[in-house]
């Protein structure tokens, strides 16, 4: 459904995105992950034919975004970063305007409006002026606008910004339910969101694609060592040195919790048995032991920071999930 090949976009001397390539098939949800200013919005604007790429080609449903913008625009639903709502209209006036702009009329328009209002639970505010709605409702109106013509391709720029946790879950469920029949691209800088709703993640930083994979494989790929976390009832003062005695342990790391340490060993090696035997032998009171896999958040930090040449921060990343 979406095919992007080597698109580059320059504003004067500034290169906003540099040779970005990816594809999204029908039924797939792709997350675009990156810090602010990474080029997510620029890429989305190229896909919606809002701006052209300086180089490279982007295609939506087989139509070129620069050559056949009319055809592309008919097939996408787009939620920009700021929900594009008219404050002076009521929710139903606004949706009817967007529907007609999108070529809907008569019964199609009515069913389209009813469908999105039900999906996004906007029924209770349909006669309210958008100016009087909360940020969360406006965001939902923005989403409704993108869905009203039931487009095969959805492009959502940070769809859950400004929503409360309950609404975020609802919107994620909605996106997941749309996935079957649509191709969806969403951008986010919130990592759990990418893991929660997407089959594939593209990490973009400084305009360049740093990685593209499934959320699981991304974390696996980046793991260069196995880590286990050990919690003890009565850890000795020199616990860091003591654990080095165990065969296979390469590094011992502290965590904010004084009772818990992280043990690092070579990739593919399982030292849990040795550690258990050793700890029990020392009578330290083993409370908990578990393997630690990297969260997407760590992957994200690692990949994007390596780009900037910043030092890696392995030490505490595992214990802090945002």
């Amino acid at each position: 459904m979406i095919e992007v090949r080597n698109i580059t976009n320059r504003y004067g001397h500034l290169t906003a995105i540099d040779r970005v390539t990816f594809r999204v098939d029908k039924g797939e949800v792709l997350a675009f992950l990156g810090p602010n200013g990474a080029g997510k919005t620029t890429t989305m604007r190229i896909l919606t034919s809002f701006i052209p790429a300086t180089e490279g080609t982007a295609q939506v449903a087989g139509f070129d975004c620069a050559e056949q913008p009319e055809e592309v625009k008919k097939r996408i639903g787009y939620l920009p970063e700021t929900p594009p709502v008219y404050q002076e209209l009521t929710v139903s006036e606004y949706l009817s305007f967007v529907g007609r702009l999108r070529g809907l009329s008569g019964a199609d328009l009515t069913t389209g409006m009813d469908r999105v209002m039900e999906r996004l639970s906007l029924g209770s505010v349909r006669q309210r002026l958008i100016a009087n709605l909360s940020r969360g409702y406006r965001q939902r109106v923005g989403l409704a606008q993108a869905l009203i013509h039931d487009p095969p391709v959805l492009i959502l720029d940070e769809p859950t910004v400004g929503l409360d946790p309950k609404q975020i879950i609802e919107i994620r469920e909605l996106i997941k339910s749309l996935a079957g029949s649509h191709a969806v691209i969403l951008s986010t800088h919130i990592l759990p969101e990418a893991t929660a709703v997407c089959q594939r993640v593209v990490i973009i930083s400084g305009g360049r694609m740093v990685a593209e994979d499934t959320p699981d494989q991304l974390s696996a790929r980046l793991r260069r060592s196995e880590k286990i976390s050990v919690t003890l009832k009565a850890p000795p003062a020199n616990i860091l040195e003591r654990f080095r005695e165990v065969a296979g342990v390469e590094h011992v790391l502290t965590t904010p919790d004084p009772q818990t340490v992280l043990l690092e060993c070579a990739l593919g090696r399982d030292i849990r048995e040795e550690v258990a035997r050793f700890t029990v032998g020392q009578n330290w009171g083993l409370l908990e032991m578990k393997p630690v896999s990297m969260t997407l958040e760590d992957v994200f930090l690692k990949l994007t920071q390596r780009e900037d040449g910043l030092p890696k921060t392995d030490d505490t990343a595992e214990t802090e999930r945002h």
Binding site: Y11, P80, Q87, L89, R100, L101
Partner: protein, 256 residues
């Protein structure tokens, strides 16, 4: 419903739920009414003077004394008022990021420009229609020639269309409504002052060209009841040209 109609309906709705139309329309009608009152009272005073001097019934020409003056004054009022109507048309869309919605919908730029222009033009026509109460009331008590009044209204419609197109262009180049309004004031004032430059240059080819470019003379012809193709061409081509410029600006915003 084609997109143009959807845009017109939405713009009209936006105008009438915001206070802009009521304030601008109110000021316009008040000014029109007040100016008409002044000219009528003034004409009345002149008539009494004439009667005292000539003794009998004096011939008072309402067309010359009231309507010509009234329409001539309205040029300036329109110049001040219409940019306020047009300033929000595109600048607000940019400011509130709804511009992206329009540009990513399957709508052509020309449809956006034409839809916006027609909607503000309809608002303006509505305002003009309300002013016809003045000649209609006057017709109950006096005799005057309707023809130059109608061509005067035609002149106002053409002049207004041109002003609105200039305003729409000014609104396309910025996201700040104040800047848009002042840009159209500036452009229209320059266009007005061209008449002065034209008379300074006198009866030279350059003088004729410059005078032609100013909207002053063309309007005067219409107010006097002279419908000349040259004047119609001036206004229509000027309006289309300004809309074309607005189209170029909006279209090129994709390439920046």
């Amino acid at each position: 419903m084609p997109p143009v109609q959807a845009i017109i309906a939405k713009e009209l709705r936006s105008y009438f739920v915001s206070p802009i139309v009521y304030v601008v329309g109110g000021v316009f009608l008040l000014t029109f009414g007040f100016l008409a009152y002044l000219y009528i009272v003034f004409t009345g005073a002149q008539a009494i003077q004439l009667m005292q001097m000539q003794g009998g019934t004096a011939q008072i020409n309402l067309n010359d004394l009231v309507f010509r003056n009234l329409f001539a004054s309205m040029r300036f009022v329109l110049l001040l008022i219409l940019p306020i109507l047009t300033m929000r048309l595109l600048a607000e869309e940019r400011k509130l990021r709804t511009f992206e919605l329009l540009m990513t919908a399957p709508v052509r730029v020309v449809e956006i420009i034409v839809g916006k222009f027609i909607s503000v033009y309809l608002v303006f026509i509505g305002m003009l229609l309300l002013t016809t109460l003045v000649p209609l009331t006057l017709a109950l008590f006096s005799d005057f020639d309707w023809y130059p009044v109608l061509t005067g209204y035609l002149g106002m419609m053409l002049l207004g269309g041109f002003f609105l197109a200039v305003g729409l262009f000014a609104s396309s180049i910025t996201e700040n409504q104040i800047v848009a309004a002042f840009t159209s004031f500036g452009l229209l004032l320059m266009c007005w002052l061209l008449a002065g430059l034209g008379s300074l240059l006198g009866d030279t080819p350059a003088g004729h060209v410059v005078s032609y470019l100013s909207f002053m003379e063309h309007f005067d012809h219409l107010v006097r009841g002279l419908v000349d193709t040259k004047d119609l061409v001036y206004y229509v081509s000027g309006t289309v040209f300004m809309l074309f410029l607005a189209h170029r600006v909006v279209d090129s915003s994709r390439w920046k």
